[in-house]
Symmetry: C2
Subunit: 124 residues, 2 copies
DNA sequence: AGCCGACACTGGACATTGTCCAAGTCGCAT
DNA sequence: ATGCGACTTGGACAATGTCCAGTGTCGGCT
C-alpha cells in the first residue's frame, strides 16, 4: 500500500459516484500533485482485478469506476446529462434467459442499464 | 441517398453482425475505395438518429453498430474473445424497476448485456 | 446548355482515452 | 550501508472519434 494507491482508494471512497479514469486522476492530483496518469490507470486496474471496484460502460466514451462493488446493482443513466444512479431492480435477469437462448455460452454475469431522463432534464 | 451512404447501408445489411466503426469503414473501402472515415462516421451517426441502426456498448473500447434495430433484443458477450450474440430474454426488465427505484427519472429504455464464455473459450 | 447554391464528401489535423516502456526512486531485508 | 525488487514517473504511442476547410457533385433555374 503506497501513498499513490491510498490516494486513489480515497478518491473512490470519498463520494459514491461514478468517476471516469480522468476524473479520478484529477482528484488524485489534488491530494498528491505528483501522481501520474499511468499510476492511476495501474491502480484502477488492480482494484478491478481485486474485485474492489467495478468498471461500468454506461458511457460509450470512457470507462467509469464504481466503488460499490460488494452489493450487486445496476445503473440508471440520464440520456441527456449523463447522471448515473445505482438501482436495485426486483427479479433476476439471469433467470430470464432460457437455455435455448444461451448458445452454449457459460453465462456468469449480467449488466442492466436503464436509460431515460433525470428530473432536471425532464423539466428542461 | 448517395453512393457512400448506400455502401454503408449495404455493409450493415450484409451479415447480421456487430461491427465497429472501423470495421464498417474497412468493408466500405472494399466496395468504394475512396470513401473516407469521416463519411462513415457521419453516415453511421445519421443511421443511428434515424433509428435504423443501434449503437451498442458491449465493448468498452469501441462502439459497435447493430443493424437489427427493429426487433428489441439484448446481447450475450464472450468475456474472453468478445463474440456477440443477439438474445431474447423472457420478461421485461422495465417492469422490474419499481417506482421507488426510479428517482423521478422518466425511464424509456433498458439495455441488458449478459457476459460469459462462448463454447470455444469454455473448451479452451 | 450553363450558372448557382446547397449539400455531401474528402483528407487531415486534432482531441480524448488508454496502454506501454525505459529509467528513476523508494523501502526493506541483509 | 548496500542491493534487490517493486512501484512510480513521464512521455511516447495506439486506438477511436470529432471537427473543419476545401473540393466536388447534383439539381434547379435562367
Amino acid at each position: 500500500m503506497t501513498a499513490q494507491r491510498r490516494v486513489v482508494a480515497e478518491v473512490l471512497d470519498g463520494d459514491h459516484v461514478h468517476l471516469t479514469a480522468d476524473e479520478v486522476h484529477a482528484r488524485a492530483v489534488a491530494k498528491l500533485p505528483e501522481i501520474s496518469r499511468a499510476t492511476v490507470y495501474n491502480t484502477l486496474g488492480e482494484l478491478v482485478s481485486l474485485g474492489e471496484v467495478l468498471e461500468v460502460a454506461t458511457d460509450k466514451r470512457a470507462k467509469r469506476y464504481d466503488p460499490n462493488a460488494h452489493r450487486p446493482h445496476h445503473h440508471l443513466v440520464c440520456a441527456q446529462c449523463g447522471a448515473i444512479k445505482d438501482v436495485h431492480p426486483t427479479g433476476n435477469p439471469l433467470s430470464d434467459l432460457p437455455t435455448s437462448e444461451r448458445f452454449g455460452y457459460t453465462v456468469s454475469d449480467v449488466e442492466v442499464t436503464y436509460r431515460g431522463l433525470c428530473p432536471d432534464c425532464t423539466a428542461a
